[in-house]
Symmetry: C2
DNA sequence: TAGATTGTTAATCGATTAACAATC
DNA sequence: TAGATTGTTAATCGATTAACAATC
């Protein structure tokens, strides 16, 4: 395993892509793949793929390549997709509701137990099976239900407050959709989805398109 | 300007963060900032900030630092936030509706004209002011309304088809939320928001937390 | 065995950081 | 002028690519 090594974030962020392509191959019934073929599919070099995978162990076999199912399983294990965590969402507006409906949670082993909002019009409603409750009961709920993941889909202004409540309540990881940089203790994992930054990047390349295509 | 240079993607992706913090400073009425102060706010080193900015020109002044308003304006210009583009959204489900409601479009100079879906139950509805139409009319709409940005919030299975329609209709950039790697000609800009990859990364760090905190 | 492909070391490339002369 | 801070070059660090011996 990776007891001693600190694998770099750039490697980690490529793993989900490997995992996804291997899942596709698995569905197609293909049970063997070489780094060269994976290279064609993912756009990463074969050398990089072998380097990446060898951070976690030698999953391949010389002269053969990789067994698709085994590598898929190993990556799932490495990514922690086999571990189930309880999650809650703070902010039950459009984005919060969309996230609550997001099918991908199951694949990652996350279970959304409840949404929270301060808008009385929303409190009491259900998104699929998931209830929207008053944000005042957030802390209590987290403590009582063994919640380890907090999702933030509130406006920017409330994001840090919610994060503080999460941390105080014992949450371990935050999936943050608010366009803010949260201040958290260093043992708290924060993963940001900054839509504005993504959109601005798109805008940049549109404006400067000719610089790159000429 | 940056006529000759190809600024690296890692630099570009830091610009929105600078822009955001400068916007905050502007609101607070602060009109002068040094790279060292920006370093404290953003977490990037002062050296890196100066390097980044100097890819686009010398916006600072020795002994003084940077004028907040001017730098904010310059970054806005560099990011193309002053240019207005028309956009459409394909896929009017939860995510599509959330994206349609997303306030950040205005900041980036994007205007969402219409949503498209194939579900008859959705066609005809309005999200705020934005109508949902039949996806069959997508190509025609794009050509008639000078649409340059296509957003994809459909399921994975339909993403490539929509992308193909977009490209055929003359769209220049795609903001893709589907967990798929789109195949597009090289003059088309694609910016991905891969929620599954973000979630898997969060999962990884949760599982391997102790490796990093000890 | 011969061919294929990994795992891994070494070489290269690019990005970050350090340092400091230029200059406001 | 003296102090501050940039713009920019040089040094360092880390990530990617190339190469090839190991081995299935």
């Amino acid at each position: 395993m990776d007891k001693d090594s600190k694998v770099s974030i750039t490697v980690i962020r490529r793993l989900p892509k490997y995992y996804r392509y291997l899942g596709d191959l698995l569905k197609k019934g293909i049970n063997r793949i070489s780094s060269q073929e994976l290279s064609k599919m993912t756009g990463f070099t074969a050398s990089q793929i072998r380097q990446d995978l060898n951070n976690f162990g030698g999953f391949g076999q010389q002269g053969y390549g990789y067994n698709v199912e085994e590598l898929h399983n190993q990556l799932g294990r490495i990514l922690g997709l086999d571990t189930v965590y309880n999650a809650v969402i703070a902010g039950a507006g459009n984005l919060g509701q969309a996230v609550a409906n997001y099918k991908g949670f199951e694949d990652a082993g996350f279970k959304v137990l409840c949404l929270f909002d301060k808008n009385p019009k929303l409190i009491g409603l259900k998104i699929r099976e998931i209830e929207i409750r008053d944000v005042d009961s957030l802390e209590e709920f987290i403590k009582e239900n063994n919640v380890e993941i907090g999702i933030i889909t509130t406006p920017k202004e409330n994001a840090q407050d919610i994060a503080d409540t999460y941390i105080k309540s014992g949450i371990k990881g935050i999936w943050n959709f608010a366009p803010a940089d949260l201040k958290v203790p260093e043992d708290i994992i924060v993963e940001n989805v900054h839509l504005n930054e993504s959109l601005f990047t798109l805008s940049y390349f549109l404006k400067n398109r000719s610089d790159y295509t000429t």
